[in-house]
Amino acid sequence: MKFTLSWLKDHLDTDASVDEIADALTDLGLEVEDIVNPAAKLAPFTLAKVLHAEKHPDADKLRVCNVLTDEGEKTIVCGAPNAREGITVVLCKPGDYVPGIDTTLGVGKIRGVESHGMMASERELELSDEHNGIIELPSGEVGQKFIDWLAENRPEAVDPMIHIKITPNRPDALGVRGVARDLAARGLGVLKPLEVEPVPGGFDCPIGVQIDAGLKEKGCPLFAGRLIRGVTNGPSPAWLQARLMAIGLRPISALVDITNFFTYDLNRPLHVFDAAKVKGDLRIVPAKGDEELLALDGKTYALRAGQMVIVDDQGPESLAGIMGGEHSGCTEETVDVFLESAYWDPITIAATGRALKINSDARYRFERGVDPEFTLPGLELATQMVLDLCGGEASNVVMDGAVPDTTRAYTLDPARVISLVGMDIPEATQRATLAALGFVLNGNQVTPPSWRPDVLGEADLVEEVARIASLTKLVGRPMARETSGVPGPVLTAMQVRERMARRTAASLGYNECVTYSFIDAQSAALFGGGSEATRIENPISSEMTHMRPDLLPGLLQAAARNQARGFADMALFEVGPAFHGGEPGDQHLQLAGLLVGASAPRDPWGSRRPVDLYDAKADAEAVLAAIGAPAKTQINRKLAGWWHPGRAGVMALGPKALCAFGEVHPKVLREMGVKGPAVAYTIWLENVPFPKTKTPTRPALAISDLHAVERDFAFVVDAGTEALVAVNAAMGADKALIEAVTVFDQFTGPKAEEQMGAGKKSLALAVRLQPSGKSLTDAEIEAVSAKIVEKVTKATGGSLRS
C-alpha cells in the first residue's frame, strides 16, 4: 500500500512530520517498508537569476550567462535555447549531485570559458521528462531553496511517498482513509469528516442489473451502478495524475484514474463500462465453463464453470470483482459510462482469482474484504468526481441485492485486556481507542465497524487496544519457573538419545550434514521409496519430488557433490527423519553414516587404505553402544536392495532391526554418481530398546582375584562359515567359566586353501577363562578346552587346526 503525505493529509489533520508518521505506522502494525522523499535529492539546489546572456565566442549553440546567485555573480555556460536575460532558474553549484545525470558537478571549462555550475532542466532534476530547455520559474527569489519554492508552488513534486506493508487482517488500511484513522486513534492528528452527498439522478438508468439468485446469498450480495452520459474522458487533472504516479500507477484517462483513485483512497474498487458497448442488462452469473474473456491486462482467460462473471447479451464483460473486460472498457472516445460499485464475497473472489492466476488491485482488496456498507456511498462519491472531472449527467442508481448485515458485538473486558497485554491501560483509554477506530460501544458490548471484517472476537478487541496503546511501551515482566529449586531435565529419553547419537558420530570423525527431506524420484526409488503417498504434489524442482525413505541418498548426493569439488575421502552423517508413508507420523528417526574413499590421507605410516565394511561396523557399534543398545545383537542378511548382497549385514534384536551396515551396492553408487569405495550404516534410533527401569545405580562390580587364563584355538572351517557361529559355540562350552571369546585371526584365500583344502579357511579364537573361588588346575583347563573344541567343531562342521 502506497500513498503520499499530502494524500494522507486529505483525511488527517496533522502537523506530524513524515518521520513521526512513519514511526507510528510501523508501531501500529502498518509496517513502513520504504519512504521516498523527492525533496531529499533536490535539497542542495537554489534559485538564481540570469542577469545577462550572450553567445559563446567559440560555439554557436552555447551561451555564456552571468547569473546572480546567493553567492554573488557567477559565470555559467549553458546550452539551453531558453537561457536568456531575466529568467529565474534553478541553480546547481559545483559540488552538488545532480540526480538526472547522475553526476557531481565540478568547475568546468567549456571551450575556453570557465563555468561555475549549471542551470537545470526538469529532467536533470527528475521532475519530469521535460528537457527542451532549462527550468524557468514564474516566481521566487535569488537564494531561495528550490524545495521551498516547490512546496509552495508545486507541492506534489516534493510530496513524500510512504510504502507500508499490510497484513492480511487489515483490508481497511488498503485505503488512505483507513491509515489516517489508525493515526488519528494513536493521537497523531484528527480524522477529517467524509461528507457523502448523494447525487440525484436525472433519468432512469437504461442498463439494468440482476444478480443470479444462486449468487445473491454468497458471491455477490450487492451490485449497484448508474449511467453517466455525455462525459468527456480526457486525461485526468495534474493533481490526480501526480498522485497516481507517486504510487507507481500509470495515469490512463480520467474515468480509469478515478476508479484507481477510489481503490487507494477509500479502499473502494469500482469499475467503469463503456455503456455504448454494453448490450442489454448487466447480469452477475456463474460461468457455464465454455466462455472466454479478454481482460484489461490483455490476456484471454478461459472461464471454468461456476466462476462468477458479469455478462450482458453478448457474453462475459467482466471478471466480477477481479478485472474488467477489454471489450467494454472505457477509452478516450467513451461518452456514456456505466459506473459499477459492488460488494463481492471475499472467498469467492479469492478462489476465482487463484484459479485464474490474476492479481489485481480489485482482487487483492475484495478477497481481504472491503467495507460492504460503503458500496453505495462510494458510488455517490465517485459519481460526483466523474461529474466534476468529466462532466455529463448521472442517472438514477440501479441495484440488486442488499448490503449484507455484518452487525455483531463482543464483550470488552478491560481487566482481561490488562491481564493479557501486561500493560496498565485505563478502561477509559481502552474505550476511547475503540471509539476512535469506529467501534460502537454500548456498555461493554462493542460492535465493530463494517470496514473491519477481521474483528471476530474479544481477542480482536484486545489487539486493537494494545496496538493503539503501543506495544513498544511494553515492559518485560519476569516469569518465574513453575516449580522452584533445581529444574529437572526437560528432554525425553528419545531426545537425549538423538543428541547422544549425534555427538558420538561426530566424535568418531564424521561431519554432520543437514540435507533436504525431499529427494528426486529416482533416488527415492533406489532406496525403497518413491511411492505415490510420499510424492509432493507441487515440488519446487524435479530434484525434490519425494519424501526421503532413508537418509543415505541425501548423504550419497552430498558425497557426489563433494567429489565433484575434488574431495575424494569423507565421513558424513545425518540424524533426522525418514518417511515411510504420507500420513502424519509416517516418519522415523534415523542416523546414517557414510564413509567414502580412503580411511586416511596419505602419510608415512601407511594409514591410508580403502574404507571397508568393518570401518562402518565399528562406527555403527560405537554409536549403538553410546545410546545403550545391548552389546550382543543377532546379525542377519535380510538386506534392502541398496546394500552389497555379500558385504553388508543387519544387526537385529529378534524382529527389530537396529542397524544395517556394509558396502553400498555398486550399482546404487554408480547411479548416484559416487566413486567408491563407499560403506555406510543406517541406525533406526527408535528401534533400540530403552532399559525397562531407569536407575543410576550400577550393578555391583564382580572382580576375581584369581588370574584369568587365555587359551587360543584355531579351527579349519568352510570358507562360508560365519565367525559368530564359532564364537557363540565356544561361549556355550562353559557359560560360568568363559568370560570372553574373540576372533584374533583368520586365514583365507588361495594360500589358506593350499594348506587346508579347497573352500576352507582357518579361524583363530582366543578364549578367556575367568575362574572364581579357586584357581584352575591343568586338568580343568584341558577339560574345558576339549569342550570348546567339541562345541565349535559341531557347530561349524570344522575341525581343530593341527
Binding site: E367, S419, V421, Q495
Partner: protein, 360 residues
C-alpha cells in the same frame, strides 16, 4: 700400608678400569665370590685368636662393603653410559605428522538447537515434537487460518499427493512449527511450557530462502501469563543466546492468525563495519514473530480459553545461527560442502550448557 689397604687399592683400581659388565663381574668373583680373595680371608678368621678376630674381622667387613659399593656404582655408571649411547642412536623426526585421526563436526543447526534448548530448559520449557507431514487441520485450521484466507496462500505450502479416491484434503509439509503447539496442548494440557524446534517447509528458493529451513516454536500457558512475560522471556533468551549483557527488544504490532495481539519483535543492533553487534547501535533487526495465543487456538488444543491464557512465538533457527555466527548464505546450510561443514561446524564435545556457556 697394610695388606688389606693394598688389597683394597688393587680392587678399586681394577673396578675403575673395568670396561664392561662382564669384566666387572670377573672382578666381583675374584674379590667377593665364594673363592674370592676377600672371602678366603674371611674364612681365615676362624683360626685367629678372639682379639685378632675382632680387629681383622671388622677391617675385612669394611673392605667388603667398600668393594661392593664400588662395584655397584661402577655397574650403574656403565649402564647409564650404555643407555646414553643407545639413546644417541634412537632419533626420530618429531616434525613428521602424527597418525591421522578424523575430526568430526556438529552442524550449526544442531548446535543452535542445543543452545536454544539449554536456555529454555533453564526457564522451565520442555521440548515438544510433531510430524513434518501434517494434516491441513493441524497446520492451518487449528491455528485459525481459514481455508480461503489470504494468510493461507501466503504460506507457499507444499502439498502431499492425494489419491483422488481419498476425500480428505491433501496433507501438507508443515509450513511452520506452530502445529506442534496444538499437539503439545492436546498431549500435555495446561499449564504448559514447551519449545518445539524442527524442520519446516515453504515453496521458496532464492538468495535468502530455502524450501526447507528450521524454526523453533515457543509456548507458555498459565493462569495469568501476559505479553509482558513474553517480552521478558524473549529478552532473557536473546541475552543468553547472543551472549551479550544487555539487549533491547522492540515489539511492533503485527498480525498472525494464531496470536492476538500479535507482535513482530525487533532487536537493537549495529552493523558497523559490516559486523552485527547485538544490543548496541541504532538499527533494528527483525528476529521473530510472537503474540498472545488466540482463544480459538487454545480451544483447538483442548484448553479452555476462559481459564487459561498464554503466549507463543516462533523464530528461524537457521536465521539466528546466521546472525550469531556470521554465516552468510542460508542455502549453504543444506549443501553439505565439506569445507563449509568443517569451517562452520562445532566440535563434537562442545555441548552448549547454561553453566559452561553456549559458545566457546
Amino acid at each position: 700400608m697394610n695388606a688389606l689397604d693394598v688389597l683394597k687399592a688393587n680392587y678399586l683400581d681394577r673396578i675403575a678400569g673395568a670396561a664392561d659388565e662382564a669384566s666387572l663381574e670377573e672382578i666381583r668373583l675374584a674379590a667377593l665370590g665364594k673363592k674370592g680373595e676377600i672371602s678366603l680371608k674371611m674364612r681365615e678368621l676362624g683360626q685367629m685368636s678372639p682379639e685378632e678376630r675382632q680387629t681383622t674381622g671388622a677391617a675385612l667387613n669394611l673392605l667388603k662393603t667398600e668393594i661392593d659399593a664400588a662395584l655397584r656404582a661402577k655397574k650403574e655408571g656403565l649402564a647409564d653410559a650404555a643407555l646414553d649411547a643407545r639413546l644417541k642412536s634412537e632419533w626420530l623426526d618429531v616434525t613428521l605428522p602424527g597418525r591421522p585421526r578424523r575430526m568430526g563436526t556438529i552442524h550449526p543447526v544442531s548446535q543452535v538447537m542445543d543452545e536454544v534448548t539449554a536456555i529454555f530448559a533453564d526457564m522451565g520449557f520442555a521440548v515438544a515434537e510433531g510430524p513434518q507431514v501434517e494434516s491441513d487441520w493441524y497446520n492451518f485450521d487449528a491455528l485459525n487460518i481459514a481455508p480461503e484466507h489470504p494468510a493461507r496462500q501466503e504460506h507457499d505450502t507444499f502439498f502431499m499427493a492425494r489419491d483422488p479416491a481419498d476425500p480428505r484434503p491433501p496433507h501438507v509439509l508443515r509450513t511452520h512449527t506452530s502445529p506442534v503447539q496444538i499437539r503439545a496442548m492436546q498431549e500435555r494440557g495446561a499449564p504448559i511450557r514447551v519449545i518445539a524446534p524442527g524442520r519446516v517447509y515453504r515453496m521458496d528458493m532464492d538468495q535468502t530462502h530455502a524450501p526447507m529451513f528450521h524454526q523453533v516454536e515457543g509456548m507458555a500457558i498459565g493462569r495469568d501469563i501476559s505479553m509482558a512475560n513474553l517480552k521478558w522471556v524473549l529478552e532473557e533468551f536473546c541475552k543468553a543466546f547472543f551472549e551479550v549483557p544487555n539487549v533491547e527488544l522492540r515489539f511492533r504490532a503485527s498480525h498472525f492468525p494464531f496470536t492476538e495481539p500479535s507482535a513482530e519483535v525487533d532487536i537493537r543492533c549495529s552493523w558497523e563495519g559490516g559486523q552485527l553487534k547485538i544490543g548496541e547501535g541504532n538499527s533494528w533487526l527483525e528476529i521473530l514473530g510472537s503474540g498472545m495465543m488466540q482463544p480459538k487456538v487454545l480451544a483447538a488444543g483442548g484448553i479452555d480459553p476462559s481459564e487459561w491464557q498464554g503466549f507463543a512465538f516462533g523464530m528461524g533457527i537457521d536465521r539466528i545461527a546466521m546472525l550469531k555466527y556470521g554465516i552468510p548464505d542460508l542455502r549453504a546450510f543444506f549443501e553439505s560442502d565439506l569445507r563449509w561443514l568443517k569451517h562452520y561446524g562445532f566440535a563434537p564435545l562442545d555441548l552448549p550448557t547454561v553453566f559452561g556457556g553456549l559458545s566457546k
